[in-house]
Symmetry: C2
């Protein structure tokens, strides 16, 4: 990529605050290179108070063909879009947007990336019961994608009862009879997902009761650092199949490259 | 660079319209890599009507440590700076600006890059007479730098008499007795510089009367494409030492890397 990088290279920007931790600049730029797409992903650190004016300026920078939003800008990106995918509109957030003739078309790929990753890792989904621990942004996207992709029943758990109820009632509007309240007990599920931040710090408690894990349960985690969280380590010791957050990130790179493909260089 | 490129990579943006032809993204990014500086140069195509709002947004993108301006944004960048080098203030333009605690510090390195390049190529300057053909933006910067660096006398020529007079009277304020009116005849000079666009198209006339060239005249050209212009080709055939626009660009890469060094990552 360094050989061909030039003034003609197209841009996808990733907006976050903080920004230093994001992996997409390297990961997706390498994927563009693998596909012989002359584009790079450019990290931009933007405070919440400035996101609207920066998005407005991005409209005016003609060689920016795509936008990726990470924390805390996924709501703002959805608002800035002139069109949203069904799932993005339902969730009210977008993590990607591509430039089209009449504005920005947004989508929310986080949940899809997670589901792609667990299916690639051999997880059965259709008609199975699953437990989602964590009803924040990542959990909401994953919950919707699990339901969209055929999970049989989804139990939702969160230490914040209000957040759990909010997600349950949101998903209830579309998948009423499949949504139930979950707990920290993974017994009886085919799939258990950690979508909380627990596991990033070494002194975090496990996000669920690992004594209930057994080899028939597939365990997925959204955390990318450490790659193997204490939960996944424990699950592997107990013989469970697992999916790391890094694997989810790798799926998201591929999905994002597919998503941006129609817009790269299209407005040149 | 692709190996370490990440969300922590610092940005220098280059603003132009058009943008596809600019070489700094590749050239200066490679120079940063050579210096083990984790920074990339990002091309941004911005129309003149949008440059103020985009510069204002750049203020708010915390990991942008530097700005490069190319045509037509060198005036706007100078206006946006909170401080300018002496030569940048004198010329009223800036091609580079680095972020400092209280805003942007601008400089104009085009003329310096040209002079560095010809000195490296063995051109004698101190006390010598020179002919500058072309009194536009590039010519103005080169003229000032030639004078700042000790040229003995500077003759200025331009097919647009008003532009020639404007540059002569501007330089006259600082270097009065050294400034004279030139013609297209290179006889009697130690240095002759083409700072016009003539030579970019194959059917352009030569910018000066090549019958007056002789081996004691050093001939420099600002054009980068083709690398060897018809003027330089003719000068070489006649035994002149020459300097291409590509050589000037290579000098500018090194000067820009030096200029940005204090700001890269400083605000992290």
């Amino acid at each position: 990529m360094i050989e061909q990088y030039s003034g003609a290279t197209r841009l996808v920007v990733i907006l976050g605050d903080p920004i230093a931790q994001v992996k997409a600049p390297g990961g997706l730029t390498r994927e563009f290179e693998r596909r012989s797409t002359d584009a790079v992903v450019v990290p931009m650190q933007v405070r919440p108070a400035d996101i609207k004016s920066v998005l407005s300026a991005i409209d005016r920078i003609a060689n920016i063909d795509g936008i990726i939003a990470t924390i805390p800008h996924k709501f703002a990106l959805a608002e800035h879009c002139t069109g949203l995918s069904d799932r993005s509109a339902f969730l009210g957030v977008a993590n990607v947007a591509r430039r089209e003739a009449d504005g920005w078309s947004g989508d929310m790929l986080d949940g899809e990336a997670f589901v792609d990753a667990i299916l690639s890792a051999g997880c059965r989904l259709t008609g199975e019961p699953g437990l989602l621990v964590g009803a924040g942004g990542a959990g909401s996207a994953i919950g919707l994608s699990l339901l969209d992709r055929g999970i049989g029943r989804l139990a939702i758990s969160d230490i914040d009862a209000g957040r759990r109820e909010a997600l349950m009632s949101k998903l209830d509007r579309r998948y009423g009879d499949k949504i139930v309240e979950g707990s920290s007990d993974p017994r009886g599920y085919s799939l258990v997902v950690n979508a909380t931040p627990l596991g990033m710090s070494t002194d975090d408690p496990l996000p669920l009761d690992s004594s209930g894990l057994s080899p028939t349960i597939f365990v997925g985690d959204v955390i990318t650092k450490p790659e193997v969280t204490p939960l996944l380590q424990r699950a592997r010791e107990l013989g469970c199949n697992t999916q790391t957050g890094v694997g989810m990130f790798e799926s998201s790179v591929s999905l994002m490259a597919d998503f941006f493909a129609p817009s790269i260089g299209a407005s040149r």
